[in-house]
């Protein structure tokens, strides 16, 4: 064993999974082998760093929706939707991120943009070795989410109101565009004098007002209709 490096047993050593004999032999090897000692040291540091990370936090908006579902279920006695986390209810299942990604797997029908929502949640990406310490959430983003959550939580129909306002705005805009005049609409000037003559003929009266300017005066008695 002294001529061979520890290899996979090194991680077992760090995790404390070796038996007493194996553990003793591994320690003796580390005392003699500089590369294995260095690797064991790095593995321990990495393990400590992983243990020091915060648990991933779910998106506040998502949590708000879950809470609304949970509240409605309590009010109505039964939920119109199946329990999102099995029969045990929220919190009884495995921790978020340990199962199927929210929104579906990439390429699955119904997936959101082909990528899991969890991948977008700040703080859930695995840290790169030696990289900067990840932050759970940017302060500005968190404040916006909290503001929206506080704004909408007191009004369960808030989202519907916003959606309705958007629909009304779109409808008014469409109607405004549709109500415009067509560019090819001709400008006409009603020929009132001609209309008066036509009206006088059908009503058997003399036309009111001046005779039409373009009305041809001709010998009476002809059967030919005056050209207009």
């Amino acid at each position: 064993m002294s001529s061979e490096h520890l290899g996979e047993r090194l991680s077992a050593l760090v995790d404390g999974e070796l038996g007493p004999d194996e553990h003793e032999r591994a320690l003796i090897h580390l005392a003699k082998c500089e590369p294995c000692r260095f690797e064991a040291d790095m593995t321990r540091r990495l393990k400590r760093r992983l243990h020091g990370l915060d648990e991933p936090e779910p998106d506040l908006d998502f949590m708000g929706r879950l809470s609304a579902l949970d509240g409605r279920s309590e009010r109505d006695g039964q939920s119109p939707f199946p329990p999102p986390f099995g029969d045990g209810g929220f919190g009884a299942g495995p921790p978020l991120g340990s199962s199927r990604p929210l929104g579906g797997f990439p390429g699955y029908p119904g997936g959101l943009g082909g990528g899991p929502i969890a991948a977008d949640v700040p703080g859930t990406a695995p840290p790169a070795p030696g990289g900067p310490q990840p932050t759970a959430e940017e302060p500005g983003e968190r404040s916006r989410s909290e503001f929206l959550a506080q704004l909408l939580t007191p009004f369960p129909g808030g989202r519907y109101a916003i959606a309705g306002a958007a629909v009304v705005t779109a409808l008014l805009g469409t109607a405004f565009v549709a109500g415009g005049e067509a560019e090819d609409t001709p400008v006409v000037e009603p020929r009132l004098a001609d209309f008066a003559v036509e009206h006088a003929v059908t009503s058997r009266h003399a036309p009111v007002g001046a005779p039409p300017a373009d009305q041809e005066t001709r010998p009476a008695g002809g059967a030919e209709q005056t050209s207009r």
């Binding site: 109500g179 609409t185 006409v188 000037e189 009603p190 009266h205 001046a210 009476a220 008695g221 207009r228």
Partner: protein, 354 residues
């Protein structure tokens, strides 16, 4: 702490509820009496139609000359000299003036229009032979057109000797005479036919039912009825500068309302105030408003107005009582306003049910 039995509260409020229900029922019954309940054709025997048909036949067979006096709602008459030539037409010449006469040439179209006007009169009113009377000292037969509510909408005087229609009056809803015509100085002679005259015939292109339907499908407001008592009795078209103009005649049998339709819009410099001494039907009316607040009329009971709506220009000329002319105009699309909401409303109308 109150000792009142909570269960007694509904019983105490029961009279209030009963009172509210009663009031609502009364309001419902009151609203059921629609103000237009009398706006239905009058039922009954139309025994006066025989007299009027005979008068129409006499008009097509008798030469005569007379003075036609037309009186509007203000009571001031305007006179014209008329000469009827059954085979050629009727001549209108100004009295005591050298102005050129106007000739309405006889045509089959006008004869059939007369028939439809009589049918419309019969369908709308109860046409009653009111018996013998006199007009201008001549014996005559009086025929009355009676509304469903019993009020008189029009009267006709038919000369007993000649069988000619020598007088007619249309009455408004208020009972006042709105438009009157009577013939004086009646002579059974062949009047003078003018050497030169302005002439008129109905536009040559009559629109049948299928053509009217085609126009409606293209957006033309060519309705068969404007109101319950104004039915389309004639529709014709002509062309100005290659563009179609439709003339629709609506009538209740007593009055005639001409609607001229053109596709297009009025120019921005269009003068909305008609010339020829027209005044508003309302007190102080000095111009055509964007709405139909003012309908212009002259002193012989003729009204005119024009506006644009839905890509068309509407022009209405009416020989009718003011209330009938107003109901016809308001039955048509409202004038377009230039504002934001007018445009939105117009767009919603065009979009139809979504």
């Amino acid at each position: 702490m109150s000792t009142e039995d909570p269960s007694s509260r509904p019983r105490r409020s029961a009279p209030v509820v009963l009172l509210v229900v009663t009031v609502l029922c009364v309001l419902l019954l009151a609203s059921a009496t629609h103000p237009g309940a009398n706006q239905v054709p009058a039922e009954g025997a139309d025994d006066g139609m025989t007299v009027l048909r005979s008068a129409a036949e006499a008009e097509g067979e008798t030469h005569y000359a007379a003075v036609r006096r037309v009186t509007g709602p203000d009571g001031r008459p305007a006179s014209l000299r008329v000469a009827n030539h059954p085979d050629r037409g009727i001549v209108f010449a100004p009295v005591a003036s050298e102005d050129e006469p106007f000739v309405v040439e006889a045509s089959q179209a006008l004869e059939s229009l007369d028939d439809r006007l009589l049918e419309m009169l019969r369908d709308t009113y109860r046409v009653v032979d009111a018996g013998r009377t006199e007009i201008d000292g001549r014996p005559a037969r009086l025929v009355e057109a009676v509304r469903a509510d019993g009020t008189v909408a029009g009267r006709f005087w038919v000369d007993t000797g000649s069988g000619l229609l020598v007088g007619r009056t249309a009455y408004g809803r208020d009972g006042g005479a709105a438009l009157s015509m009577n013939l004086t100085d009646l002579e059974m002679v062949e009047g003078e036919w003018p050497e030169r005259a302005s002439t008129g015939q109905p536009w040559g292109e009559a629109l049948d039912a299928r053509e009217r339907e085609d126009l409606r499908s293209e957006g033309w407001e060519l309705r068969e009825h404007l109101t319950w008592d104004l039915r389309l009795v004639d529709a014709r078209s002509t062309r100005y500068e290659g563009r179609k103009v439709v003339h629709a005649v609506y009538s209740d049998g007593l009055a005639q309302i001409s609607l001229f339709l053109q596709r297009g819009k009025l120019g921005t410099d269009h003068s909305s105030i008609p010339s020829g001494g027209y005044v508003g039907t309302e007190q102080g009316g000095t111009g055509i408003s964007p709405g139909h607040d003012t309908l212009f009329g002259d002193d012989v009971g003729q009204y005119r107005t024009m506006w644009q709506a839905d890509g068309f220009v509407f022009t209405v000329l009416a020989d009718a009582p003011a209330d009938l002319a107003t109901s016809a105009v308001t039955a048509l699309p409202s004038p377009e306003g230039p504002g934001f909401w007018d445009r939105v409303e117009r767009g919603l109308d065009r979009m139809g049910p979504l």
